[in-house]
């Protein structure tokens, strides 16, 4: 228990320092937020333009698709907020030898990596996600009862863990490949496409997005559970299972990576 308290205290200290640095340049922070907001809006614009030409997409209406889109942003935003520094592992830390610092301290290395940085841009994703989910509530397309609401919160945190696990997995490849940024980017980008109903894809693709890089379980599948009364809550249960399994795999790889780590030259 002592260690947990210690880590919490540490996280608070590190985060407070980080926020102080951010607040020093408020304009930059706002611009960053705006930029990210923009990125999300484009996705909606795409849907909107498409639906000018068609009545529905394989049975799904625009409003429903917008809910899926918004719902997808929330776990993504949560992960983005806390674990953005993982990207640096994939792109730089391993190569530059900056990792040495982490290894020399008597603290869990993964913790050090993520405590170093909080990403305020993520608030853009969370904001858009919340707005769109609320909009969907007002349009009456989402089921609202005790079970669904509870599972909603479970799902978004499980979803965030899946995001983190996938990021950590690909980032850890950097210990062997020196730079794994491009792979991480591609894997991460696949999440964008799992915002759409997976029925539109061929079997192979559906399998990939559902079980290999399981973003379908973060967005589409739980979202359809929240919209349609005849789907089973098992979807969320599986999502949690996947979250734990993938986290375990990713962390094991990361840990192995720190042992294989070769540091930089002089």
């Amino acid at each position: 228990m002592n260690t947990v308290k210690r880590y919490l205290r540490l996280y608070r200290v590190l985060v407070a320092q980080f926020l102080k640095t951010i607040m020093q340049s408020r304009v930059d922070f706002l611009i960053g937020l705006l930029g990210f907001f923009f990125t999300q809006v484009m996705g909606i614009a795409f849907l909107y333009l498409v639906f000018q030409q068609i009545p529905d997409l394989q049975g799904w209406t625009l409003d429903q698709l917008i809910f899926i889109y918004g719902f997808a942003q929330i776990p993504r935003g949560i992960d983005h907020l806390f674990t953005d520094n993982i990207w640096l592992v994939a792109y730089r830390l391993v190569i530059n030898g900056d990792f040495d610092r982490y290894m020399l301290r008597p603290m869990n290395i993964f913790f050090q990596v993520i405590a170093e940085k909080l990403q305020p841009d993520a608030l853009g994703e969370l904001l858009i996600g919340t707005i769109l989910v609320v909009r969907s509530l007002t349009k009456g397309i989402v089921i609202v009862d005790g079970l669904h609401v509870a599972l909603f919160f479970v799902s978004i945190f499980a979803g965030a863990l899946i995001y983190t696990s996938i990021k950590l997995f690909f980032a850890s490849l950097a210990f062997w490949l020196k730079v794994s940024g491009p792979f991480l980017q591609i894997a991460y980008d696949m999440a964008n496409f799992a915002k759409y109903p997976t029925e539109i894809y061929s079997k192979g693709v559906r399998f990939l997005i559902t079980w290999v890089i399981p973003f379908a379980f973060v967005a589409y599948l739980p979202a359809s559970f929240f919209m349609k009364a005849d789907t089973s809550a098992g979807v969320v249960v599986i999502e949690c299972g996947i979250a734990f399994v993938f986290w375990w795999i990713a962390y094991a790889l990361f840990h192995r990576g720190t042992q294989v780590y070769e540091s930089a030259g002089n």
Binding site: L57, Q58, F193
Partner: protein
């Protein structure tokens, strides 16, 4: 002048070498990068499947399939990003070092981007292009592209490349005026993906917006070359479109030079 340009060859060669050095990334890159376009492909099939019309936004389903992959091929050739390098140089203060060297900073960046472009063309664009063309003829039953068509497409691509690089250069220099352009770069990339026709053909936009786009360089970057390839531009329209591209190249070149002059005057170096 020609001899002078040769100084920049090492930049291109180095960039190419650097990319080739990351062996693992090279192999996987080919495979996984295609996923994005395939998913777009499925999406469009579903969209056409949900519509009663055969032609949406001026394209049939087959043409849209070609569109999706040609956008990939074109974008990968054309969008070699240098604004990151520029803004990095500003933040790190190394931009001053670049001014000391007896070479044109912008030209060296363009040369670097060219090396990047060659790499991106070889990996995997050429293969995909060929594969797409075969698929187009055998499966979709469309007519093969003519030699003239290929030539025009490539010329258009080169101009697109220049438009993009010159634009990115101007954009990168924003780093001189605001210390933090990361957010703006994200906005730029999102906007560009949209406005260049990568996400959705320009023809899908409401007519009023399309008129506005006519005055912006973005549609010339990806949409124009792909439309040329699809044979959608002929005769006068074709000439007009390509001339428009050329005009943008000139305009952005001049704009870049002007901004550069302003910037070197008030060099605020951070860090260093």
């Amino acid at each position: 002048m020609r001899k002078g340009l040769r100084i920049y060859l090492p930049f291109a060669a180095n960039e190419l070498k650097r990319q080739l050095a990351y062996k693992g990334a090279f192999y996987l890159f080919i495979l996984v990068h295609l996923f994005g376009s395939f998913i777009s492909y499925y999406l469009w099939i579903a969209i056409y499947g949900s519509s009663e019309k055969e032609v949406i936004g001026g394209l049939t389903q087959s043409e849209m399939v070609v569109y999706v992959f040609m956008v990939y091929v074109t974008a990968s050739i054309v969008t070699a990003s240098i604004s990151t390098i520029v803004s990095d140089d500003v933040v790190k203060g190394t931009v001053a070092m670049n001014l000391i060297k007896p070479i044109d900073y912008r030209l060296s960046l363009i040369a670097m981007a060219s090396g990047n472009m060659v790499y991106r063309f070889l990996v995997p664009s050429v293969l995909i292009w060929i594969g797409l063309e075969i698929y187009k003829i055998k499966v979709l039953g469309l007519a093969p592209v003519s030699i003239a068509g290929i030539f025009l497409y490539l010329v258009s691509c080169v101009m697109s490349f220049l438009i993009y690089v010159l634009f990115d250069f101007c954009f990168g220099m924003l780093a001189f005026f605001t210390t933090y352009i990361f957010g703006m770069r994200m906005a730029k990339e999102a906007l560009l993906g949209f406005l260049t026709g990568q996400l959705i053909p320009i023809s899908f936009f409401p007519a009023a917006m399309q008129r506005v786009f006519d005055f912006l360089p973005f549609s010339s970057i990806v949409y124009t070359p792909v439309m040329i390839y699809l044979g959608k531009y002929t005769g006068e329209t074709l000439v007009f479109m390509m001339l428009r591209q050329a005009a943008w190249v000139v305009f952005l070149y001049v704009a870049g030079s002007l901004i550069w002059r302003q910037v070197t005057k008030r060099l605020v170096v951070l860090g260093g």
